[in-house]
Point group: C2
Chain length 385, copies 2
């Protein structure tokens, strides 16, 4: 059910012909209220796609009634023509739904530079078709229409005392939000105002999507949108809602990690003993982005030297000769020197856990990443995306 | 001849048994004077190998009489035992050469964490053997003994009015100086004092090795050493010497790029129209480190969208919608939008040139990098290094 699990939402996913495969490629999610509250976070890439530029304006008032998403073309670096395409998409949706175009967000994903007349016509026709197909149980269809190289749809739902959060996501590479294209739509029938929605969304993304770093590459099109219908009539405790939203976002982040292009390991890098949370994030990210480390994991090699070499490039507080590193529970490095033998480590499972203790404080953070594989190189060299 | 091309130097390379292949693995270069001037630059990685820790102390007085280099083990993260190994290596060389151990630099390259009793014994014996084998034409032998995954030795020589610069280098990955292990020894018989040598070396490395970024990974063992014998008796014009040294360093940097592990393209990223040289470097490096861009080049895909997406992650001065990008002379992107068709670009040659015009000023910089290939993944996953 994904985004239509909560009350007050309708959704659809249709075939608009943007994908050469003939699979669904335009999705619409509509908030039937009574509340029309929205919040969104966007790629931090300065090269932003046209839908991002539009949606950033449209979300400013904290009101969102509908969102249109297409796969099969990123509409990025397509000039003013591309921006007009996004604008016309919002206007078309607004007109057909009887709402203001300024309350319609737009997301696109696919090849950068795609956004010509044919693209525009298909997106506009697809938007109309999707609105015509809106259903109270259309969430699953919508989640299929936003897939690109994803091998499976990503959905999550949690229910608490009288209210529900539903969500869908797509993304299978370029996962270093902001960038890859990762698109997420989260819906809820809880009662929240715009400020609460924004604060909860920022808090939840900060420790979920923002700590997923599949390949260090940041997309021009990333967008995470929260839509609030309030249809349950229940006003949740703020902490309860924040916890549930974080749970949904973390669930989706793990689904994105598990479906990353070409990956053979899902790597959880847990950094503890840091002087600050920022230090822990910087250290985890430096390891997550180190190609030699990532290739070693693909080769089932617990190469702690590459971990320490990666940490050494950061300005985090630590002494290189007082760092411990464990692979899947086996401490192979203690105080910057060899400990248990590499052969004690089993790296054949897909789930891989690296524990780094900086022994410099009490802060911690976890970064999710993937290994660097032949399939990653193949998928990203053989096809434009 | 490499390091023995200038007058006043002797060198040797011998088999010490550190490499399982039985190939040469210990090299010594000795400065016979009359000057014993030296300068060196080191990895900026905070995780520094024991030879780096030693050499940084030994170079402080600007005097270098000899340098001992080994392949087959990095002696990094080997604790105080490893530091003692480096110290004993310098003492052994000093004793046999009749000089102070404090004027002997040491370099090591190979697997991080390698540095046990066996390693120590072989390095010490190899040092003695190399000193016994010193010859005025031993430069080529020395350049063979420092190779690791290098497919060929790297050597360069330039001669000017009465004086000569010779050099050798090794390195085939982890090339983001500070880190990969890149080891370079440059010799000259020109007359220079320690301050001049240091200034010239820093200037030359800043625009050569520091702008080589094969895979974004920084080594724990990088060291570039300049040894000055003054044996020609000629005091060169400072600008002439700086230019010749820069030429040698640039030549070696291109040789390192051309032999990078698994690479199928040597990519020159030229950034022009930058507001500052720093901006140009940051932009070039962000593209050089983008795995999606690197994989696209492997696939002969002039994917300018990935170039712009990479630039967008920097804080350099530019407008994403006023950037031009050319691949091998074909401008595929003008003002952040499509220009000539991708099919006009021929990316089959190994030499690949990306020109990025930020249209924000007059500064420029060039970064050298490589593509991301199946062979890179294979070499860095199948073998520990």
């Amino acid at each position: 059910m994904s985004v239509t699990a909560p009350q007050g939402f309708e959704a659809a996913g249709v075939v608009a012909g943007l994908k050469s495969t003939g699979k669904p490629d335009v999705a619409v999610v509509v908030n039937r209220g009574p509340l029309k509250v929205g919040a969104a976070v966007f790629t931090s890439n300065r090269a932003k796609a046209n839908p991002i530029l539009w949606s950033q304006q449209a979300i400013a008032d904290g009101v969102v009634e509908a969102i249109v998403l297409n796969s099969g073309g990123a509409n990025c670096f397509t000039g003013s023509f591309g921006f007009q395409t996004t604008h016309q998409t919002a206007e078309k949706a607004g007109e057909l739904l009887g709402i203001s175009s300024g309350d319609v967000l737009v997301c696109s994903t696919g090849l950068i530079g795609t956004g010509d007349e044919v693209f525009r016509a298909k997106v506009l026709d697809g938007t109309a078709a999707a609105i015509g197909a809106l259903r109270a149980d259309g969430g699953d269809d919508a989640s299929l229409a936003i897939m690109t190289t994803d091998s499976r749809p990503k959905r999550a739902t949690v229910s608490r005392d009288g209210w529900t959060i539903g969500a869908m996501a797509k993304g299978a590479g370029m996962l270093a939000p902001g960038l890859a294209t990762m698109l997420v739509v989260v819906t809820t029938d809880a009662v929240l105002d715009a400020q609460q929605a924004d604060a909860a969304l920022r808090a939840a993304t900060r420790t979920s999507f923002d700590r997923l770093d599949s390949d260090g590459c940041m997309s021009t099109n990333d967008q995470v949108t929260l839509m609030v219908s309030g249809a349950s009539g229940v006003t949740p405790d703020a902490a309860d809602f924040a916890a549930a939203l974080a749970e949904v976002c973390h669930d989706l982040a793990e689904q994105l990690q598990g479906d990353a292009e070409g990956a053979s390991h899902d790597i959880t890098i847990e950094v503890v003993g840091a002087a600050s949370e920022d230090d822990a994030v910087v250290v985890g990210r430096s390891v997550a982005r180190n190609n030699l480390f990532k290739a070693a994991i693909f080769g089932n090699d617990p190469n702690w030297g590459r971990v320490l070499a990666a940490i050494g490039t950061t300005d985090a507080a630590f002494d290189p000769y007082d760092v411990d590193v464990s692979f899947n529970g086996v401490r192979v490095c203690t105080a910057g020197g060899p400990d248990r033998p590499r052969d004690d480590v089993d790296l054949t499972p897909r789930a891989t856990r690296i524990l780094i203790d900086l022994r410099s404080g009490d802060a911690a953070a976890t970064i999710l990443t993937n290994d660097l594989t032949h399939d990653y190189v193949h998928e990203n060299s053989a096809y434009s995306s």
